[in-house]
């Protein structure tokens, strides 16, 4: 390892990996790169677990009738698939990116609160363990959907309580992570790195962290009220005691809608790094990107009831939330136009990260359009709680956030590991994922339009054809991700050495100022920026 930056002994860093070796290094580490790696591997593990659940769900839905799982276990699977993918896979993946990249991109030596950072991560395995244990409780895991609507939650067994505590831990982890990220960005920028010179990835994370701070406590409140309704005789969500089941939905979606952007904004950030790099041209409309991101974040707080059009909110409420929701199309459109304009008159090449970014752009926009369709109250009355909604949010979460995560991993893997991944295999991974993903989710739009409700283990005969195609796509998608694991392992073990800047158009500090692989400690002396 050729560290260009000398170790400053006054800081007491006498060896690269702290005082421990082996497993203790990972348990005690306070290094942002180690913790980033932990987050990313953890999220990959959860991606596998949630993916296996998805495959079982799709296997059951391959044919009408009950074949593999009973309806109750089916509900447990859909619930846990959702919770694990959102809180276990996608969010930690982007926190992993934040840990690795933010300090390097702003010229900081590490995250602001290094020990807190360690704790933020190590809360996650315990939360995951609680979720897994819920399956072993009498009655199994809760079968209530990831939205955990009252009062169905009151009927559940002890697994529900395990899930509630898991959500508490996940929320604590996110809040601590968000505090750390905000403090790091606002305080540890290298001299000359003004806010409006920060890479867009850093900007999107700054805004995301504020969203997290605002909404994770709301979720914690919602599940805590569920807990006291279950065990301590409160009636927050029970009309018999003066409560209201719909109150839960309001609280949940006040968290739930900004949560969508907690996942989407860092994805926008990654894409905003990748597209300029492979267009060999600066990002078009940097300032308007920052404003658009902020606008999306602010709007995300006033649109929550578009998830609740069928609950019977008054006509004035329906209209307000419809208008506010479609308004989000404006800043989102600005972002898409900026990305396209970045490519306009560039000098484009199509390595794997760029392919995933283009796939993201194409399909995320598709998910945006179905979002616009769903925002319209009359149409949503037909489509609410159908597979159309399932298709819509998977285009946002999988074709959107997951594709951005893949783009980011292929983009930064050479910098992180010092080695190149196999470009051919990477491209194969992209095309397989693209084809199978559309096989799974595109046809679900048709199912939803034709009237198939979501969260059902069995369905009328007329839905069979599309379900079969969707299930086959899911099996293919699952297998394609094994190829991804192979590519990453192969890169780490036997990849060809990577140059300092393998991507010609990349221009943030980690490429321009740090060697490849990055030393364990970087920017102990702030870089000089002009």
């Amino acid at each position: 390892m050729s560290a260009v930056i000398d170790h400053d002994h006054a800081h007491g860093h006498h060896d690269h990996h702290g005082g421990y070796g082996g497993i203790m290094r990972w348990i005690t580490t306070t290094n942002h790169k180690d913790i980033g790696t932990l987050y990313l591997w953890f999220s990959f593990l959860m991606f596998g677990v949630g993916g296996i659940m998805a495959v079982v769900i799709r296997a059951e839905l391959f044919s009408p009738g009950l074949q593999f799982v009973n309806p109750d276990f089916f509900n447990q699977l859909t619930t846990m698939h959702g919770l694990i993918m959102i809180f276990g896979a996608i969010m930690p993946a982007f926190v992993g990116f934040a840990n690795w990249q933010i300090p390097m991109m702003i010229g900081a030596p590490d995250m602001a609160f290094a020990r807190l950072n360690n704790w933020s991560f190590w809360l996650l395995p315990f939360a995951a363990t609680l979720l897994a244990l819920s399956f072993l409780m009498p009655g199994g895991a809760p079968g209530v959907g990831w939205t955990m609507y009252a009062p169905l939650t009151v009927q559940m067994g002890m697994g529900m309580d395990f899930t509630i505590f898991a959500v508490h831990l996940l929320g604590m982890s996110s809040i601590l992570g968000a505090i750390n990220i905000i403090t790091t960005i606002l305080n540890l920028r290298a001299p000359g790195m003004t806010l409006l010179r920060m890479p867009l990835f850093v900007w999107t994370w700054l805004i995301t962290a504020y969203l997290l701070l605002a909404v994770m406590p709301v979720l914690a409140g919602a599940v805590t009220m569920t807990l006291t309704d279950r065990h301590f005789g409160t009636t927050f969500f029970n009309a018999a005691g003066g409560g209201d089941p719909v109150l839960y939905q309001h609280i949940f979606w006040f968290f739930g809608h900004p949560e969508v952007y907690v996942v989407a904004l860092p994805a926008f950030g990654v894409i905003s790094q990748v597209i300029p790099a492979f267009s060999r041209k600066p990002l078009f409309g940097y300032a308007s990107m920052v404003y658009a991101t902020s606008a999306i974040a602010i709007l995300s707080f006033i649109v929550w009831a578009h998830h609740m059009y069928t609950t019977g909110i008054p006509v004035s409420g329906q209209l307000f939330f419809m208008y506010a929701t479609i308004l989000i199309a404006v800043p989102t459109g600005v972002k898409v136009f900026n990305w396209v304009a970045t490519m306009w008159k560039g000098s484009l090449s199509f390595e794997t990260p760029m392919l995933f970014a283009l796939g993201f752009l194409f399909m995320f926009t598709l998910g945006g359009f179905t979002g616009l369709v769903l925002a319209l109250v009359p149409v949503d009355i037909q489509l609410q709680d159908t597979y159309y909604v399932v298709a819509h949010f998977h285009y946002v979460m999988v074709a959107g956030a997951l594709f951005a995560a893949f783009a980011g991993i292929y983009f930064w893997l050479p910098k992180w590991t010092g080695k190149m991944y196999d470009e051919t295999l990477g491209k194969i991974h992209f095309w397989l994922t693209l084809v199978f993903l559309n096989m799974i989710f595109f046809v679900q739009h048709f199912l939803g339009l034709a009237g198939m409700p979501r969260r059902i283990p069995d369905y009328p005969l007329m839905f069979e054809t599309w379900n079969k195609i969707s299930s086959l796509g899911a099996f293919g998608m699952g297998l394609a991700q094994l190829l991804f694991l192979y590519i990453v392992v192969k890169c780490i073990r036997s990849g060809a050495p990577a140059p300092q800047k393998p991507w010609e158009g990349a221009d943030s500090l980690e490429w321009t100022h740090l060697p490849t692989p990055v030393p364990y400690h970087s920017f102990e002396t702030p870089p000089v920026l002009h």
Binding site: G140, V246, G312, L361, P378, I381, M462, G505
Partner: protein, 359 residues
């Protein structure tokens, strides 16, 4: 059967509309889809062209521009204008959809795990009540028998309404949130326990229209369909007359003394319609939904039998208060059945005993 909403559905689009509202929803959907498709083709046509024309392998040199104020203002303003074009027709439809006034017939629908109870509240047929439960046999669901045409979309008692009349549906629920939905009418309304909500439809065709519960309501969520039979005004009046006569004839005299065998035979039917989803045909129960085994259950065979439990339910479980849905005779029959099945042995329970314990 004259016309079946779901069976004729085009698989890739909304189901054929049977009400003006549903037709207008389809029009709005198509209008928005055309706009979206045009924008999509425009933006991505441009993107693919720029990707194609400016690729490095062709030797294209990157330019350095990164801002253009006029263009940026235009692509903020134009989408905002397009949104107004979408919001206007949508707003008109929202207002129409919410107008539940001046109904010809008002029906209350109660979502119950896992069936629908209909009470005709106001208009012709007032006073009729029926409970609508999935009639697809378990053998079909479990793959032991071939599946019928209306698999999972058939019920024992259909909601019957007259054609071309404004029907107001008041929704509520007995246990958890359900959602009453008939796609062909463009009507979906959550049924919320402890609250009343409403929606409406005016069917313009006679026939049978089918839908499913749309809100996750527990284990059997996928198995509580909605079937509405729309008939001519004449047929409707005839149906109301028959229904009222049948109700009188069916009414059991709760003071009559039944034999144990009579009760068991009747109870088996009640059990199959109401209890089997959780307690199982074998009486073994489902621990997953906290439904205890009834076979060998001391509480069941003890005197006087679980009359209060069946009448009033168990809070916070799927064991609901059946006192509302079942008659004294049916409750006596089903309790007698479970007390004398799967090896259980106990005395019969008479309808009069159930009546005495009702509060």
């Amino acid at each position: 059967m004259t016309f079946s909403g779901l069976a004729l559905a085009l698989e890739w689009n909304l189901q054929p509309a049977a009400s003006r509202l549903a037709a207008e929803i389809q029009d709005l959907h198509e209008y928005v889809m055309i706009l979206c498709a045009a924008i999509f083709v425009g933006v991505f046509g441009f993107m693919f062209w720029s990707v194609y024309a400016h690729r490095k392998s062709k030797g294209h040199q990157a330019e350095e521009f990164h801002e253009h104020t006029t263009v940026e203002m235009l692509w903020t303003a134009i989408p905002a204008l397009i949104l107004v074009l979408i919001a206007w027709p949508a707003t008109r439809l929202v207002v129409a959809q919410k107008d539940t006034t001046a109904a010809d017939l008002t029906v209350k629908v109660t979502g119950i795990q896992w069936k629908w109870a209909y009470d005709y509240l106001k208009g012709e047929g007032e006073g009729i009540s029926l409970i609508s439960t999935l009639s697809t046999p378990r053998e079909q669901i479990e793959g032991r028998a071939p599946k019928g045409e209306h698999y999972l979309l058939e019920v024992d008692n259909e909601l019957v309404v007259p054609v071309n009349k404004k029907i107001r549906m008041i929704t509520t629920a007995a246990d958890v949130v359900h959602s009453w939905w008939v796609p062909a009418f463009g009507a979906k309304q959550d049924a919320i326990p402890g609250f009343l909500r409403d929606t409406w439809f005016r069917a313009e065709k006679t026939g049978v229209f089918r839908g499913q519960c749309a809100e996750l309501c527990g284990k059997e969520h996928g198995f509580m369909p909605i079937v509405v039979r729309v008939v001519s005004q004449e047929d409707y009046s005839k149906w109301v007359g028959e229904r009222k006569k049948a109700l009188l004839a069916q009414a059991d005299d709760p003071s009559r003394k039944w034999s144990l065998e009579e009760l068991k035979a009747r109870g088996e039917k009640v059990y199959a319609a109401n209890c089997i989803a959780c307690h199982q045909a074998s009486g073994q129960g489902s621990p997953a939904v906290k439904a205890p085994a009834l076979a060998g259950n001391k509480f069941v065979t003890a005197e006087p039998g679980p009359i209060d439990t069946v009448l009033n339910g168990r809070p916070n479980t799927a064991m609901q208060a059946f006192g509302r849905q079942l008659s004294d005779t049916e409750i006596a029959a089903v309790i007698t059945y479970v007390r004398n099945s799967w090896g259980n042995k106990a005395s019969d329970v008479q309808p009069a005993e159930v009546k005495a314990r009702r509060k």
